[in-house]
Structure formats: C-alpha cells, structure tokens
Point group: C2
Chain length 413, copies 2
Amino acid sequence: MNVPRPAFDPAVLPAGGAAADDSHQHVRFGDGLALECGAVLDELVVAYRTYGRLDADRANAILVCHALTGDQYVAEPHPLTGKPGWWSNLVGPGLPIDTDRFFVICANVLGGCMGSTGPRSTRPDGTIWGTDFPPVTIRDMVDAQARLIDHLGIDRLFAVIGGSMGGMQVLQWAARYPERVFAALPIATAAQHSAQNIAFNEVSRQAIAADPDFHAGHYRDRGTIPARGLGVARMMAHITYLSEEALTRKFGRRLQSAPASPAAGGGAGLFGEMFEVESYLRHQGSSFVRRFDANSYLTVTRAMDYFDLARDHDGDLASAFAGTFTRFCVVSFSSDWLFPTAQSRAIARALNRAAANVSFVEIDTDKGHDAFLLDEPDMHRTVAGFLDGAAIHAGLRPAPPGVAAPGPRGKAP
Amino acid sequence: MNVPRPAFDPAVLPAGGAAADDSHQHVRFGDGLALECGAVLDELVVAYRTYGRLDADRANAILVCHALTGDQYVAEPHPLTGKPGWWSNLVGPGLPIDTDRFFVICANVLGGCMGSTGPRSTRPDGTIWGTDFPPVTIRDMVDAQARLIDHLGIDRLFAVIGGSMGGMQVLQWAARYPERVFAALPIATAAQHSAQNIAFNEVSRQAIAADPDFHAGHYRDRGTIPARGLGVARMMAHITYLSEEALTRKFGRRLQSAPASPAAGGGAGLFGEMFEVESYLRHQGSSFVRRFDANSYLTVTRAMDYFDLARDHDGDLASAFAGTFTRFCVVSFSSDWLFPTAQSRAIARALNRAAANVSFVEIDTDKGHDAFLLDEPDMHRTVAGFLDGAAIHAGLRPAPPGVAAPGPRGKAP
C-alpha cells in the first residue's frame, strides 16, 4: 500500500515559525486599541509598506488590504521567501495601480504575523501573547489601519482596494469611515462569510489543533511549530482557491515519475507520489509553513468567519452604506466558488438600494478565486479604468500619457 | 484567542480502531486473488450481506456496491454504530429495491475494514498486512465481488447499482463482465476521478499521515489509531458531500451557545465553538473514527483516484462498453459538485456512442453529492421505475401490486 509521507517536516523549519521581530517597517501607538470584543490592547504596532509619493495635498493615497495569508509586501520581494510582491503585477510604475501617480499603502493586518500586533507579539508583561491574544474582527483590522492613515496625515483615501478578506476590509472601511474613502474596490469577496467557508476554515483550525506540535498554541515555548497541521490546512484551502477547470487544465490526471497504468511496472504506478496535483499541493503546504504563523492563521480565519456586515446593521446590508458618497467598483470571477459572483451581486444590489455610485463586473475566467492574484487582463483593465475615472472626479492630476485604459466593462448587478 | 480543542480524542477510541474479526458473514477463497498491480493475495475473504430470497432460476439478484466509507450493511442496523443501514430508505420490503421481489447482495469492498480482505487482515505468516497491503483498484474490488457471485451460484445479475465509488464499481462491472449484468445504475459517479477529487483525497491522506498516532500505518502495533488525522480527513470530505445551498439552509451562520454579535458579552461570541456548522462537522469527524480504519481509508481513496475507465480502453470510454446488451440508467444530482452532472453526462454520451440502451436522469436537488443516500423521491421513483421496466425485459415475475412506480424522467444526455 502507498504509505503517504508527511510532506511537512518540522525538523527543517525555523523553531517558532517565521521570525516575529521589529525588522518590518512599522509604527507604534502607545495608546493601544479598543477591540470589538471588549478587550483593549495597551499597545498597537502596525507594520506597513508604502510605494510612490504622497502629493502635497495628500489626496492620492490608495490603501491596499491583503487577504488571509497575504502581507504588506505588495510590490516588492517578500523578506522571508524572496518571491515577488503578491500584487506586483497590479501595483507599480505604469501598472493599473500606478505608483508613479498614486501613493500606495499596505499594512499587515491586526492579528497577522509580519510585524503588526498579533499572537506573536509581546505583552506589556514581557511574555508572548500566543493563544491569549484577544479575538479580532475585520472592523478591528480596519480601525488599526485607520490609526496608520492618521499617522501618515491622510484625511481621505483616494481609494481602498483588496480581494477576498482584503475585500471584506474594503467594505468595512466604506461602511465605518465613509467620509475617508473616495473610491472602493471590493474584489472576489462577500459581505458575510458563508456556512461553507466557515466549514472549510473550521477544518483548517482542527488540522492545526490536531498537530501535537501545536501544544494548545504554546508551540513557541516548546521551540516547535505545528507544521504538519498548518501544512494540511494550507493544502485544503489551496484547493478552494482554484477551480475544477483550472485543476483539470493545469494537472488533469497526469502522473509524475510513475507509469500511466497501475497495471504496468508491477504496481509502481500505485506507489508514492503519483499525480502531479498531489506534489503540487504538498509543495504549497510545505512552503506556506515556512512563512506563516499558526496562531495568526487561527486568529485571522476567525475574523473572516465573524464578518457579517448586514448583522452589524440590523440585518440590512444597504443600511451599512446609507448616504455614502463613495464610488464603488465590485469585481467577481465567474469560476470563483469560494466567493461566488452571487455574493458580489448581493453587495452591488445593497449598494444600489443605498443609492450608491456602483459598477459591478464579473470577470470571465476559469482560474477560480485565485484569479484576483493572477494576471487577469480584464481585471487589470477594470481596476485601471475605474481608478482613472474616479481620479477625474476626485480632481487628481491626470494620468501620465500611455497609462490610460478602457473603463470597466460592467454587467448590471 | 479561541484555541480550538481537537475534536477527536484517541483516548476514548478502541485501540486499533473498529475490530477486524470474523464476526461478519463472509466467504473465504483459499485460491486467493490476482490483483491489477501484479501482486497476488494468497487468500481472499469477502464479507457480505444478503436480503430477500433468490428465485429458483437465480435471475432476481441485485448487487449493491457501496461508497468510500460504506459497508455491506445496506438495509439493517450497523453492527458498530447501531444506526440504520446506509440505504435502508431504498432497499427493503416494498421499497424501490424491493426485497420481497429481489435478492439483494452487498459485499464489503476489497481493501475495506468490515470483514473483507484489507489492510487489517492477517497475512499467511500470521502478521497483520497493515501498510504492506498491496494497492487495489476498482477492478480488483469488482473481481472480488465476482468471486462472491460465483460462490452464490449466480451467472447473471439482474442489476448492479451503486452511488459515488459504488457507481464506479457499477461501470467497471458493466465493462468487465457485460454478460453478467442485465441492468446497471451508476449514480452520482464518474468514469474517471477528477483532479479536484484527487486533490481532496490527497489532503485526506496527508491529514492521516500527519497524525503521529499513524506510526507510518503501524498504529495497531502501538495500540492506538490516528483519530485526529482521520477525523480531520472526514470533516473535510463531508463538506464536499454537501452543497453551499444545503449548508446555508441547514446551518447558515447560526450560532451555538454564543451571542449573535462578537461585540456582545465581552466577546463570548468570539470564543470556543460558535457556529452550528462547526460542531456538526466535529461530530461527523469524531463519530467516523469510531467505525472506520485509517489504512482502509488510504487504500480505498487511492483506488478511487486510480479509476479511469477510458484510460483502460485506449482513451475511449465508449469502447469500454462496445457491443454491450446491458440496460443503463445514469443518475446525477444538480447540486453535486464532487461528481457533477457533466461527468454523468459524459458516461451517458459514451454509452450512446457504444449504441447502448441508456437513460440519463439529473435529479434537481440542493442536497449535493449526499443526495444519493437521502430520501430523494425523484431518485427513488427513478430507480423503482427503471428496475420495474428492466424486470419486464428480463422476464422476471411482475412486481407485487402497489409497488409499481412511474418510469425515469430522463433528460437527453
């Protein structure tokens, strides 16, 4: 029988996971932050990166909000993996989010593991928060970002943009600080997490909790990390980021160093790693555990699960945006089954009911939820066009020649 | 922070998992079985159950094939859990598979853990196979069933029926022993496992392998079982058996013993088990590990992944059924995303190309893949009607009055 080898060997991993340190550019707020759960953080650290130059009138700032496993390194190599920034195909000089024109800000979310206050931060008493870190919500993440925006002396953001959990933050920004958001681009997201998504997150949390190296969250004290549990969680989540079509196109049933027929080679085809999609997923899991912290994964997935913007407004999503002057561009992807188009359409409908200025675009692609991170020309044209139009309304200086792009090709919600 | 407790406590579980013993009704074949991988089992045990009475002419036998985690206890309480048979709503006196009329047979699959030869069986040298058990395929499972059918003195089965992996066996039966299958009902299945399904299975295997109680498959020797890994695998798989609609309808975002808003109750809503869907999944996982063996889960999921009936026939599925006289009824469910209707339609198209007698029915339901196990009146009417019509063609004695049902309401493939 094929005995699967655990793909995630804790021995080869840095004890305690990716370093929690002050090496990340950050700002420290000594007056702390009051959380939605009622707890108060005595001190708040927000790690962030910026790209481009802030205009004299401070009107050209774009806040990028990252997703569950993202970070502030949007348009530059990741300090731990050396890989290009997670949105380096969208953010940069001459790109749809043009850093020759806009001042782009991205902060590691509250509860994250790349320098912002989170489970790996130090408490006032000098110990590590670990599992004692209070639960945070999307609203708390946005409040922490608002402190950063204050610190940067920016009253109003020209735009807030993000995909997946980043899109939840965009919606929360527009609902909580409408006067501070001129334009909002929630991409591949939802106004509330679905039962199916909560279910997948719960399996991820169970996979982490089932790893004996988790030590009820105190793995740092034991000099280990729950690499196997976190790796399994990532493998499963990664399937939900793709589509059946994309998986079939990328891998199909292709074998890797194994005969095509199990009958051939005395069953060699029945042993070990055989389908390409299997080794691909194992790689996804093992590379992930090198850069992400398990307690942050638990904290941030919980924040996604709690997110329900309608619940916070008497069950009516429209009232979350009542009287808003923000210009919205809602984007979804046809093959995204984690955040299906229907959920984006529900956002657009609520914005219509709130008499908001909204365009809705469903991008036709077979790449699934992952599409928001990939080179999707239609999405890039949509973002560039929407920002270009909004910039005119905002009275920003026009785009440098050659950057102009066609406007969003919207469908009626 | 909410620290998830592992839902699966090995301490409360039987060491080595559900008992592997001879208590199950079985037949032993001393001449063994040659497997597709090239290995040969010196001895073959097939555990099975029968319902109803075999006619004098032995023409009224129906073979039921079970799915990944099913077993031979189709229409009677499960000996370990005491729960009703897994298809007791479909198989029984006066039910669509009428045991007053048909002789129903179901065997535990080769590689399973309910009495048939599998990883928990004893080798000739007296030791347990464990992870040394050779890899098996759907074809091997069908060959083992054929030995049972021979033993029962049945030349031709009136019908072979099964859902999911059971449907794979139905297709393999029709392709390998066409003269022995008068009617075939493959339900919610596919002629080859998709890349997405292989991916989900691989995550399940990794979750099991990641459990230190797995001991590379030798957990029985250590008197333990990989309960946490197997539980996580089951939780994830269970999500794929349902649909987003079904999860939303059954659970939505309902909370369990927690305030609706995380802001209320000093964040009590942010601690512990909060969404109903979470505790439901934990229950699914913990009850599963009490009855199923991890090595069997690895063996049988591999068999599903290898299944590719077209590959075994020069890439042309139609040639797998060339010249068949078997009557087919292919059934799918509209909300099944694990075995989508498109895969059943591909089977029906291949059967059409093979000039076979085939009807295809897509049942409209929001219950997902699970629907094949549930009370789906349309499916039950379809099965009853198809069997009734086939029985006339087979020259079986007519159904007792009151059992007749409307025929299948087919759609053109």
